[in-house]
Subunit: 447 residues, 2 copies
């Protein structure tokens, strides 16, 4: 209650200096432990607070950050933001900060994550290293990390927005390298992320060791058209750079998305349904309000292959004359808000990955892509190296390979033919929750 | 004095749990202000402390980090490191933590940097934006930042090392883009970094505006052999990735440096003298002790073209049977020590950049390289895009161009023919202090 009073005082003071103002406080606690070359290399505990003041005076913006939530220091930040607003020029496009909206029910946070100790993580990593080397003596645990984060977010603004949220998540990943005879496999990753401490590290190690085993048999690749199954890590990498930015309303206004004017058009095969769902059961960060306090909602991007619409934050929505979709994401380094996603989900299918592989006479299962970051979201073009990729012959994985795919993400979307019933959380970049997806007749270039 | 007592208590407690132990405390205060598209976008104030405990028990390493310097939390980190050491396996290569050595005289820190306010930086950036747009109405200040940091470092270990250092630095940079008719120039950078607040922002803006003016005249490039002058930013980018790692003693042991067995050999033209000098007058971080408390010194890497030797931290030096050269650098994210540089200096020459340009009938002045990060330090091969690059005809810059250089850094070093009397501090990656350097007969590929 003391905190609420304090925030009211701060807001009241700030209102005197600005036409409109927003104060956002982020408190976090992060514990983590790392592995390097089969040994635990570090355990760490970090915690802190950041307060961001965004005020507008006469259409002039001021933004100040301070790594504290103490009243005195936040007051200083308010004054800094006010000085900055006086020095900046007018943003004639500015309309207003968001008004209050109706939130959905808060998910219950799992408080065991708030008190977790690095010892738990160190223990888990030690067991994982032991397990990996028991399962395959040729394996080196080249890297790995386990972490637990807890975050509290409090956003208020002078129009009455006042929302507090808290929650945590845990993650675990390993990178294995196998050395057998002259063969050194590429780094093989696997991971788990969830909202409790029951990280399935045994499953992660088993999956990774399986992929290393496949990687010992190196098969050449050639130029051909083949069915490929993309794994969650490969999909997340490619879509994050080549596809997802195209759904941003800012890009619609700036004419840098190929989706302009195409709402209602078929842009993918019927297999593909894609949405942003902040409260998805597997989401690692369930939020009812976005970075500027706007209620979040499920936003469908592609429904059975049909493009359904763009996502917006408050600023660009008002410039365009529409409403924020609750996709204002706060960047804690710059303090600013920009359009982003909470949990991008690809709808799952009915059959298992195993059954999907069993159907393929000759094709590939791609675990990861390299080079996806140089994709062009203005048109969807990409050129990536599939590595690690696994050759499928007569329904079974028989070895590993490397090849190139240069194509267009929208052409690829039309080639999608099936999604697996397994869905995996990928906690990098944009958080994605995605099944394994099969694409037909994909042109690959042997390497 | 209270602090010294406290540190002694912590060390005494830690000595009970380890054979050897090191405690390092880093306190910092950072203020900064940013520019985006002609407006101040953010001002921030950050401060904090990190303590790192590195203990060895029976050749087993434990390393724990905590973002605090409070006795209670450091004690927890000591206990975590001890638990980790029990779980790790032996590092048979481990010898010992460093013993005390003799430090040079501490440089006097400039305490005005400790109390600097973001307002100063905001004011400087506002003046810089105004100046840039007065000098050239077609210029946009696309980005920019000014910052002041202050750091206090305290390292103690159970062999008697006990060294405290403090100091600060300030930096300023802008990125300009010119738009004139159909021409949009590439981003043009310029910057200043120093140990006081007298940042020369007018000079930075003048240099950048000059380069933008050159960039309006786009000239085609072709395949040819020409003299080129590399600017400090281009040199720092290329050398940081292609050359400097080769001087690491760890790479000598791991056989990943082309310099193995070549001490005393000529690896560059006589023009090139290269050394790491922590107390250089232009250094932005003057340190008398490295990250593990070993005294720093001036280490000559190349003297008049001749390779003089490798640099070492404590661990790899003892594995090899030599002494640390004071090049143990602490990574504050991983907590670990690895071999690195303090201030890499290229010796300056006698004549001005202007005179060097005046000598060139047909050639280029290269301000920056793209793609240097994919250089291979194992052999010195690189392939980079020179951009921005400026065409010199009959002793004058007449326009801008883009071309490729694919080569080998050691071949390039032999082509060096002159260094300018101006030296510039580049505060990225490794800090470098470097003149403009001319190279003869460089093969370029037109674009």
């Amino acid at each position: 209650m003391g905190e609420v009073m304090e925030m009211e005082n701060l807001l009241r003071y700030a209102e005197k200096l600005f036409d409109e103002v927003e104060i956002a406080v982020y408190r976090s606690r992060d514990i983590s432990a790392n592995v390097e070359l089969n040994e635990i290399s570090m355990a760490s505990t970090r915690s802190g607070a950041v307060t961001i003041v965004r005020g507008i005076k006469d259409k002039r913006l001021g933004l100040a950050m301070v790594d504290s939530d103490e009243e005195k220091r936040v007051n200083e930040a308010i004054e800094q933001a006010a000085k900055m607003a006086r020095l900046n020029s007018k943003d004639e496009k500015w309309v207003s900060l968001p008004e209050p909206g109706k939130y959905r029910e808060k998910p219950k946070p799992n408080s065991e994550l708030k008190e977790a100790s690095p010892d738990t993580l160190v223990g888990m990593l030690v067991s994982a290293i032991k397990l990996a080397r028991e399962k395959d003596e040729h394996v080196i645990v080249a890297g790995g990390e386990s972490g637990v984060s807890w975050e509290e977010r409090y956003v208020v603004n002078s129009h009455g927005i006042d929302v507090f949220q808290e929650g945590g998540a845990a993650f675990f990943f390993v990178e294995l390298v196998g050395r057998k005879g002259n063969i050194v496999t590429p780094g093989i990753f696997d991971f788990d992320a969830r909202r409790d401490l029951n990280l399935n590290f045994e499953g992660v190690v088993e999956n990774a060791v399986q992929k290393v085993k496949w990687a010992y048999d190196v098969k050449s690749s050639r130029n051909e058209e083949v069915p490929i199954i993309l794994g969650p890590w490969a999909i997340s990498g490619l879509f994050s750079y080549a596809l997802l930015p195209a759904f941003s309303g800012e890009r619609l206004i700036k004419e840098t998305t190929p989706l302009a004017g195409r709402v209602g058009e078929e842009i993918a095969s019927e297999t593909i349904t894609l949405y942003d769902d902040p409260l998805h059961e597997l989401a690692i960060e369930q939020v009812i309000a976005d970075g500027e306090g706007v209620p979040t909602r499920k936003n469908v991007l592609i429904k059975d292959g049909t493009f359904r619409g763009f996502v917006w934050d408050n600023y660009w929505a008002k410039v365009y004359g529409t409403e924020s979709t609750g996709n204002g994401k706060r960047d804690l380094r710059s303090g600013g808000i920009s359009i982003g996603f909470h949990n991008v989900v690809i709808e799952k299918g009915r059959r298992s990955l195993e059954d999907m592989i069993a159907d393929i006479e000759h094709g590939y299962f791609v675990d990861g892509f390299q080079g996806a970051h140089s994709s062009n979201p203005d048109n969807g073009n990409f050129a990536v190296t599939a590595n690690p990729a696994f050759l499928i012959e007569n329904g079974e994985v028989v070895g590993s390979s490397v090849f190139l795919i240069a194509g267009n993400v929208y052409e690829l979307l039309k080639q999608a033919s099936e999604t697996s019933r397994e869905q995996v959380v990928i906690p990098f970049m944009n958080t994605m929750i995605t099944p394994f997806v099969k694409f037909e007749n994909v042109k690959i270039a042997g390497k």
